[in-house]
Amino acid sequence: MKVVFERPRALSDVTSHYCPGCTHGIIHRLVAEVIDELGILERTIGVASVGCSVLAYNYLECDWQQAAHGRAPAVATGIKRSLPDRVVFTYQGDGDLASIGTAEIVHAANRGERLTVIYVNNAIYGMTGGQMAPTTLEGQVTATTPLGRDVSRAGHPMRMAEMLATLPGVSYLARVAVNKPANIMRAKKAIKQAFMVQIDDLGFGMVEILSTCPTNWGLHPVKALEWVDEAMVPYYPLGEFKVPGEVKEE
């Protein structure tokens, strides 16, 4: 008998702090698998955001820099420009990228920085206790919207992928989900593409990943995966928004 599935080398052999069923763990593993497959662990630098994923530097074996809230794309820009032979990625949640960090992500994408952005959207602020995020869905109950998000006061949920896809500096942009096995496979493919456009010097690459927050959604982890399909996917459609013509398969 041989091993057909095991922990990727780039993923640290530790217990994560994530809640039971939180799909951050799946996304971490996919990033680690892609780093392993591309053989780039020794030259990869991650930039951690603020939020639950702030501790990502404990879980992936590459080098890391921690950025101030929302500023990961700006910090990553500095790293990439001074060390252009490195593979630089940010790992940001929606409270980080779509709220306090909106300026940084828009301008990094617009400049076509050679970065890979892993954007984890779970429609809520996880770490701080489940408050409304810019991505919270209309009518969604959170700690700060006990009657559900009222779009006449709070605006509509922000579709970052669609917004950024209009910028010429963006080379690869996709939205995926990790709520079932087939989607997990697609998510891995998209993450790989987003790293490859950087390695091939084609421009900015980002993957928006619909993720779960069973604790703050108040749902069992399995029900939370179903909620992604029922509530999130209709508003945040999955697919590739921008694909470069000349991305090479390895």
Binding site: V4, F5, T15, P20, G25, P181, I184, P221
Partner: protein, 67 residues
């Protein structure tokens, strides 16, 4: 012949593997692990096909699959 191995003390009992196992052979154990969770376990290992779906949906990389 296939087999899955659980890193029992890493399991948080989220049941994503039990929900997606095509053979429906993964269940939470009665006992608890070091963290206080009921960990996932397989009783009828001979029914395992080694498809690794359980391992792919596990957020905590608890499962190693042999085939």
């Amino acid at each position: 012949m296939a087999r899955v191995e659980f890193n029992v003390d890493r399991c948080k009992g989220c049941e994503l593997c039990t929900a997606f196992c095509p053979q429906k052979i993964i269940k939470l154990a009665e006992g608890i692990n070091k963290m206080g969770y009921h960990p996932a376990a397989v009783e009828e290992m001979d029914k395992c096909t080694g498809c690794a779906i359980c391992a792919r949906v596990c957020p905590d990389c608890v499962i190693t699959v042999y085939k």
